[in-house]
Amino acid sequence: MPLPDAERLCAALADSLRPGLHPDTALIGIHTGGVWVAERLHAALGLKTSLGSLDVSFYRDDFSRSGLHSQIKSSDIPFEVKDRPIVIVDDVLYTGRTIRAAMNEIFDYGRPARIDLAVLVDRGGRELPVCPRWSAQALQIEPGKNLQLERSKAGVLSLRLIDA
């Protein structure tokens, strides 16, 4: 199956976000692929609030089963969360568990005005009631496969399908 061009999806996602944004809207990318997409959106949309990033490792629901992985990034929220509209940005939406973890983490920084979700690809297979407000592409991916966003040395984003 040919996969869509990730750069083109980023541009399409930015276009669909533009009308729905508030002047105070802040983007929060989820490590690692979500941060790359959020960087693209942040530049394309010209947002004045700095970009935030989350590593949800400390909030994952499978910690007691799989423990901590070794390369955890620091979460960085360089703005006041209280009363601000937030858009969580991720590369691929699957079970919805990462988004739940991200929302839990965001609330530990304050009570946002609202949270929306923007994703590059919605691959279905949800296990929680999570629905993106913006999704650049829906794709049916069979279980047992991981759809992964990659970034080349030149900084170009692309999608790749690998065995889970």
Binding site: S57, Y59, L68, S70, S74, V81, N104, Y109
Partner: protein
């Protein structure tokens, strides 16, 4: 024999000593500690990793800083923390250490943080838990006798890495009462494992173990010579309570020869950092002008200690 602190997959099961831990595990603890430092800046200073877990602080010896920072670390990870006041507990009535452990296990303990005057007490607990088939319960050594104080050693390494970035070009001096110091042993093992090329110990002959050279350190009895061109000075507390007999003429004389003053510190590199595990004896091992001076990183050590202990507890709980 398998390292008793590691699982059969080589993951950290207990933290008993730094001696024998591979560099990858030490580095993983330091790497994992870094994102925990950021939690202190949030509105809600809590993470859910140890939610529903019970951490028992078993301090058979006095401690304020270590016990408090372990307690804060566990609470920031959402654990339930139970502090046992040993002097008024069953031990005072004659209960053995292992009976105490069995009783706390029957109360669904998930983790023990233990400080004990006897070297090896945390090892004994870990062995006992394995023999009872209770491998899911973790033990952290918070200081045992003269043997080890691994989380102190690790927070010291975190502090050095924070200020110096890299271990591989450093000269580090450990100064003072090495003989009685479990902190010094943990520091030496951590520094050599992480690749510090030159570790020195400085102190009077009576307070330096005769065979310390086997650990790969250079011994100095003259403080100025020992401090020449060092990047990091790690002071030790003079442990009056552990000294039996006359190892020292007087604290005043110790200060004269081995107390860290600005004058002696001038022998070190201009960007030297000065560390101390606390509690400090001002005017005995360190002069106030140095303790409060621009080279001291003694209070950041305390803050980093919380993140390092959070990292250790989370890694154990996840393995």
């Amino acid at each position: 024999m398998r390292n008793p602190q590691l699982t059969k997959n080589g993951e950290l099961q207990h933290l008993l000593t730094i001696d024998g831990l591979p560099r990858e595990i030490l580095a993983a603890i330091l790497d994992t500690a870094a994102p925990f430092t950021e939690v202190a800046e949030r509105e809600v200073k809590k993470l859910p990793l140890l939610r529903g877990k019970s951490v028992f602080n078993l301090f058979f010896e006095n401690s304020t800083r270590t016990r408090t920072t372990f307690e804060i670390a566990a609470k920031r990870l959402s654990a339930d923390v139970i502090n046992l006041n040993i002097s008024t507990s069953s031990t005072a009535k004659g209960e053995t250490l292992l009976d105490t452990v069995d009783n706390l296990c029957a109360m669904q303990a998930d983790m023990f943080v233990v400080r004990h005057a006897s070297s090896g007490a945390p090892f004994l607990m870990a062995q006992h838990l394995a023999a009872m088939g209770l491998e899911h319960i973790h033990v952290i050594n918070a200081g045992d006798g003269r043997h080890a104080h691994p989380t102190q050693g690790l927070l010291d390494m975190y502090t050095i890495r924070h200020y110096k970035q890299d271990f591989t070009g450093l000269v580090v001096a450990i100064v003072g009462d090495v003989l009685h110091s479990r902190v010094a042993r943990s520091q030496i093992h951590a520094l050599t494992t992480l690749g510090v090329p030159e570790v020195r110990v400085i102190g009077p002959k009576t307070l330096i173990p005769t065979d310390v050279g086997k650990l790969g350190v250079r011994v100095f009895h003259d403080m100025r010579a020992g401090l020449k061109d060092v990047d990091v000075v790690m002071m030790l507390r003079l442990q009056n309570e552990r000294m039996q007999g006359a190892l020292l003429p007087s604290p005043q004389e110790f200060f004269k020869y081995y107390g860290l003053t600005a004058d002696k510190l001038a022998c070190a590199r201009p960007d030297v950092i000065v560390m101390h595990p606390g509690p400090m004896n001002r005017g005995v091992e360190i002069d106030s002008a140095v303790a409060d001076g621009p080279h001291a990183v003694i209070l950041p050590q305390v803050t980093f200690g919380i993140a390092v202990r959070m990292a250790v507890m989370s890694m154990l709980a996840g393995n």
